[in-house]
């Protein structure tokens, strides 16, 4: 076992050790905990890049726990797919972490800071575990850690509606997890394995014999992950949950945690069942319809929202519909379009939430119609908010346009041209609720009738990540080949 192959577990241990260290660092000032946390995050980012480079050159490798063979032990599979997405997640979380030093602790009690960062590091640990592991039951355990940490981040602020939205989130999330576990049980019944590749191998021959098991398992797993990833009919908890959470954590929840569940959906559909079984059960059409309905209805609900964070929550539901549409096309082009949209939506949604967070942090306003003339008082954050909003609509030079463009092409190749109409409609609906915010922010004048630009006085640690996100959105929009090659190889490594 060379040193590089130990890195994934070292990543997991580093994140876990940091989470355990925070309560023990109680004596020293809080600054040292923050700086130590940043070092751990940068270290994990560096090692993720190293793993990605190693996997890109030497190919995927396995990590068997306890030296046992995968038949009766647990193993991690580090291929292009898992290396790439762990690197992207840690990069985005580091950006949001730098932002959160200023804002996450707003609205939380004096001695809460430590608890927020314990939960943040355990959240990261479970996301890494979900993407690395090659075992279905292990994914369930990490999913549970992810849902408990997400719920407690949502309910950490001492506000009334936090508790009710967190409670509804726990209930629906639990239904999702237990349905996923029911699917795993059904697969275990006919194969005897919980290892993803072994289950895949065993199912290929035996599924006509036990078709009842496979059909029920597919249904329960897709519905279970649908609950957790807030795919349209099961999204009820998302807007309240993301509105209640602190600003920086709603960025993490909306931009990253929801995507991790979609990555599980991709792993389940492509690695566990495989394209042949899914097309035989004509699941792609069903998932495609669910996605199409989600794309349209998500945007329709977003239009009616008054609170800016709930509006962003509903727009997340619509964008998840795009990604699920890409996944349902069962083609390399479709999946790489879905992966590109995962990355671009992650950047855009994080930028939107962080930019809105600066305004909420400073002005304590959340109503959409009170955004008049803020462009002059918050030029930097409103400008980045504008770029990200244009990206969501799909204006050419942003990464959103590239994502929608590729998705449209992929639907054409897959022979489902009519979904392009849905993509266009959804794009227009996005414009319907993002444009008013931009117009009122830049064109109408604010209560103080201020026309000259005065820079907002938000701390630099909050402004720098927002600007970096804005630059990334434009960079990926103009030159998408930056990560397109990596995404393609990630898709091929899944087959």
């Amino acid at each position: 076992m060379t040193m590089i192959e130990q890195l994934p577990v070292i990543n997991l241990l580093a994140l876990l050790a940091m989470a355990l260290l925070v309560p023990l660092l109680r004596g020293r000032s809080f600054k040292t905990t923050l700086i130590l946390g940043l070092c751990v995050l940068l270290g994990v980012l560096l090692s993720s890049i190293l793993i990605l480079y190693h996997v890109h050159t030497e190919g995927a490798f396995y990590y068997h726990f306890g030296g046992h063979s995968p038949v009766f032990g647990i193993e991690l599979l580090i291929n292009e797919f898992s290396a790439l997405f762990t690197m992207l997640i840690i990069a985005l979380v580091t950006l949001v972490y730098v932002y959160s030093t200023g804002d996450a602790t707003e609205g939380i009690g004096e001695n809460e800071y430590g608890r927020y960062y314990i939960l943040l590091f355990i959240l990261l640990f479970s996301m890494f575990g979900i993407i690395y592991t090659n075992d279905l039951f292990n994914t369930y355990v990490f999913m549970e850690i992810l849902s408990i940490t997400t719920c407690s981040i949502i309910s950490i602020k001492r506000k009334k509606e936090n508790y009710t939205s967190a409670f509804r989130y726990v209930m629906l999330n639990e239904i999702g997890s237990l349905s996923y576990l029911f699917g795993v049980a059904l697969l275990y019944m006919i194969t005897g394995y919980t290892n993803i590749e072994l289950v895949h191998g065993a199912i290929q021959q035996s599924w006509p014999l036990y078709s009842a098991n496979v059909v029920t398992a597919v249904a329960f797993m897709v519905v279970g992950i649908g609950f957790k990833a807030a795919i349209f009919p099961f999204h009820i908890w998302l807007p309240d949950a993301h509105a209640a959470a602190p600003n920086s954590s709603s960025a993490i929840l909306s931009a990253i945690v929801v995507k991790v569940y979609l990555l599980i959906l991709v792993k389940v559909i492509y690695s566990v069942y495989g394209v042949t079984i899914m097309t035989a059960l004509n699941m792609p059409l069903i998932i495609g319809l669910i996605a199409a309905v989600g794309m349209v209805m998500g945007s329709v609900f977003a239009i009616a929202q008054k609170d800016i964070k709930r509006m962003l929550g509903y727009s997340s539901v619509a964008q998840i519909g795009y990604i699920v549409m890409g996944i349902s096309l069962m083609s390399v082009a479709g999946l790489s379009a879905a992966f590109f949209h995962i990355v671009s939506h992650g950047l855009m949604k994080a930028a939107l939430f962080l930019a809105a967070g600066i305004i909420i942090y400073d002005r304590k306003i959340r109503r959409v119609n009170l955004f008049d003339g803020l462009g002059f008082q918050f030029p930097v954050s409103m400008f980045v908010f504008g770029i990200a909003a244009l990206g969501m609509i799909g204006i050419p030079i942003t990464t959103g346009f590239i994502a929608k463009f590729n998705l449209a092409f992929a639907t054409l190749d897959a022979g489902r041209g009519i979904f392009i109409v849905i993509i266009v409609i959804s794009g227009l609906l996005n414009a319907l609720y993002y444009m008013p915010v931009l117009i009122s922010a830049f064109l109408r004048d604010n209560p103080e009738k201020q026309r000259h630009i005065t820079f907002e006085k938000a701390p630099r640690t909050m402004l720098v990540p927002v600007v970096v996100l804005g630059i990334l959105i434009l960079a990926l929009g103009i030159y998408p080949d930056l990560i397109w090659g990596l995404l393609e190889s990630a898709v091929l490594s899944l087959q």
Binding site: S152, Y163, E174, F182
Partner: protein, 127 residues
């Protein structure tokens, strides 16, 4: 005759699925928060019964292998291990949601969801 025989064979699974559906019904339809937590526990128990029923071997002994004597049929140990993990998960989810109910009761004075929804609607109207 063969239908009753297969019914008898599948009775464990049917019981597990019945528990799962009853738990789902309780979570979805009941307004009282505590009843919903109980529904989640019933669902969890249903799935764990299903898992253990998979590993059952008729006439199988618990897998404590005495190195002296050979042979003996044992049940499949893996589902029981997965259940040990699953039970702890459902316990921690229940504790978390109970502490949420304590806080909700403290702020709203009731654990009935419809009354809470009414209170929230009143607050939204006047602010």
């Amino acid at each position: 005759m063969s239908f009753f025989q297969s019914l008898l064979d599948h009775i464990n699974y049917l019981g597990a699925v019945a528990l799962f559906v009853i738990g789902l019904f309780t979570v979805v339809t009941h307004g009282n928060l505590i009843k919903r937590i109980m529904g989640i526990n019933i669902m969890g128990t249903g799935i764990f019964l299903f898992f253990v029923a998979i590993g059952n071997v008729t006439g199988g002994l618990p897998p404590i292998i005495d190195p002296a004597e050979e042979g003996g049929t044992f049940i499949n140990p893996l589902p029981s291990v997965l259940i040990l993990t699953g039970i702890v998960v459902v316990v921690s989810i229940t504790v978390y949601s109970l502490s949420l109910v304590v806080r909700i009761y403290e702020t709203y004075g009731t654990t009935d969801q419809d009354e809470i929804a009414k209170m929230i609607r009143e607050e939204n109207d006047n602010d």
